[in-house]
Amino acid sequence: MKPEPTDRCRKLLEEVSRYLDGDLTAAERRKVGQHLQRCPCCQHMADSLKHTVEACHKAGSARLPADVRSRARARIATLLASGPVPPRTA
């Protein structure tokens, strides 16, 4: 069963995200760290946020579809065959 959030948990939502990025002062980090150690709800939130970020990373490494990649390669070949870049005009 998923742990129920308290009012304190709701207030700490953004701090948990900042905690994961190392984006808190030492005092804030200690406070959030202590809360995480004893709060299953916020631990669940932290794990869930980590999975969210991992899912984003995976999307960034998704391969281009074969036909899109093929068109991209063809464009590059055409461009490079067209000769050097003309000098930039003011």
């Binding site: 990025d21 970020v53 960034g60």
Partner: protein
């Protein structure tokens, strides 16, 4: 966890070194830069703007500008933020040229219908992965893209640059034109919204 150093695409490419090599005459380096520019334009078109038909225009624009700029840039290490700014502008201009409809997102796992009536699956399976692994990743990406669609455009842009592309907070601030503090505020709020959408049944 430190997303500023762990984004896959940006992390794996040393753009400064590639630009220097390209300026030194390496055709292979230039080809890699030109492919990276098009890959970024493609992902931006799909994930931030949401239209596969815009992607070809944006890829072409990113390609041409990169070819010209990479040969002439005097500070190769500034290339990466220049590239993302250029792609952002190219994609948004392509989008405005189309219609005045709100930006939306397209799942990489969806089938896209082009204006000429042809259809295209956005993703292809990686032959190196086990089928169950590929299926799980496909589901995950589908869920992620549906969740991204629910974000406000300015939050979606931050998530794309920082979490999907792996830019640092400073780089995101330079690309978007806001302060680093604002990037962080938007990022954490967007991340919470995204998480909530991914967790919802």
């Amino acid at each position: 966890m430190n997303p500023s150093t762990s984004g896959p695409s940006a992390r794996e490419t040393d753009y400064g070194a590639l630009v220097r090599a390209a300026q030194g005459g390496s055709q292979q380096a230039m080809e890699r830069l030109l492919m990276r520019a098009q890959e970024i334009a493609y992902r931006f078109s799909l994930l931030v703007c949401g239209h596969a038909d815009d992607a070809d225009d944006a890829m072409q624009e990113a390609l041409l500008k990169t070819y010209r700029y990479a040969s002439q840039i005097k500070e190769p290490d500034a290339f990466r933020t220049w590239l993302y700014r250029t792609v952002k502008n190219a994609c948004l201009i392509s989008r405005r040229k189309r219609v005045h409809e709100p930006a939306r997102l397209e799942s990489l796992d969806a089938v896209v219908e082009h204006q000429d009536g042809s259809v295209q699956g956005i993703d292809v399976p990686d032959p190196g992965r086990r089928p169950d692994e590929a299926l799980e990743n496909t589901r995950l990406r589908g869920a992620l893209h549906r969740a991204l669609q629910t974000l406000a455009p300015e939050h979606r842009l931050i998530v794309f640059l920082r979490e999907v592309e792996g830019l640092s907070t400073r780089e995101v601030a330079q690309v978007v034109g806001i302060s680093e503090a604002n990037v962080k505020t938007r990022l954490h709020r967007a991340r919470l919204s995204l998480r909530q959408q991914l967790e919802s049944p």
